[in-house]
Amino acid sequence: MALISSVSIWMIPLIIGIVLLYGTWKRVPTYETFVDGGKEGFQMAVSIIPYLVGMLVSIGVFRASGAMDALIDLIKPFLSAVGIPAEIIPQALIRPLSGNGALGMMTDLFKTKGPDSYIGRLASTLQGATDTTLYIVTVYFGAIGIRKIGDSLKVGFLADFVGIIGAIVVVKLVFG
């Protein structure tokens, strides 16, 4: 498990080092290229503002009303029997349906429990473990005009389910 921790620490500096050296070797105008790419990053960050504001307010109302806690209390006995923390369920349920919704749920957990708490780490891992199946099916098949989607949604949602279980088990083993 120490290996996974060191992978986490070394990965990003290593990638940056390799990219910069390789770019220089291939005579890429590194700095100018960096600036070009950075502009895209800026636009990306700004363009998600409306999505996140919309989602966070909806989640905020749901939580502040007490409805979310009521839901969590309702399912807690069943889930704690199998060792799943109930707090993660709202995020897990929304993850395959809306990426920004899940991002909002994760943020809400950071806010209430802290990013370094067990739940915070689980929420972080869960966010990256799977992607938004519904969005991908809609966008990809919508763009090319596929009407009969066959087993697509079944495959996607089943994989999401395995991913959620996988994230819970991995986080328990590494940080538990």
């Binding site: 990306m44 502040a64 992607d131």
Partner: protein, 198 residues
């Protein structure tokens, strides 16, 4: 679907608050969370600017294409119906590599281009082919090396070690991807058996 969930959380919250007398807290939450959304995105700018800048260098230097070569033998096995030198294979490779480096915005156009080519391979029929479902499965399980946005948000909330979840995410996403490939194969063979019976 997402519209119903979004409105649903609002309506259930408002009705629940009306009965439990939490309306004041709800009022506060509306403006507090809205502000939080904006602050959060502004706080993401530095990471996204930096990471996409570095990744642009990798792209221009041809590093991403080189890595695509590493993925090729595996992807050839996953897409047996796609000829090796068909343009679909090129787009599938770019899509996979972009996903791997957390470049979601670059991955989506590549994925759509790949789908267009796969549709041509399927004689332009308006139904999902085997290869399309496999590509979809790969995308929904999203093998990601660096979860950039998650790390940035962890920083925003004062994490002691924002990148400590890179390892667990990589492990979890690998499990999901393997599962997605196996599930995809299972459904493919099931379809084939059904067709054989008819």
């Amino acid at each position: 679907m997402i519209n119903y969930i979004w409105v649903g959380m609002f309506v259930i919250g408002l009705v629940y608050a009306a009965f439990t007398g939490n309306m004041e807290a709800v009022n506060k939450a509306i403006f507090q969370y809205a502000e939080e959304g904006v602050t959060l995105c502004l706080g993401l700018i530095f990471v996204l600017v930096f990471w996409l800048g570095i990744m642009k260098i990798a792209e221009v230097a041809g590093l991403l294409n080189k890595l695509a070569g590493l993925f090729k033998p595996i992807l050839k096995k996953l897409f047996p119906e796609v000829p090796e030198d068909h343009p679909a294979m090129g787009y599938i490779l770019s899509n996979t590599v972009a996903n791997f480096f957390g470049l979601g915005n670059a991955a989506t156009p590549m994925g759509i281009k790949a789908m267009e080519q796969l549709k041509k391979l399927n004689h332009d029929r308006p139904e999902a082919s085997r290869s399309m479902i496999t590509l979809l499965a790969l995308n929904t399980s999203s093998l990601t090396l660096i979860p950039t946005t998650v790390i940035a948000i962890r920083m925003q909330y004062g994490s002691e070690n924002p990148t400590e979840i890179v390892g667990t995410t990589l492990l979890a996403t690998t499990i999901t991807t393997i599962a997605a490939v196996l599930i995809d194969r299972f459904f493919y063979y099931r379809r084939k058996r059904k067709a054989a019976k008819k």
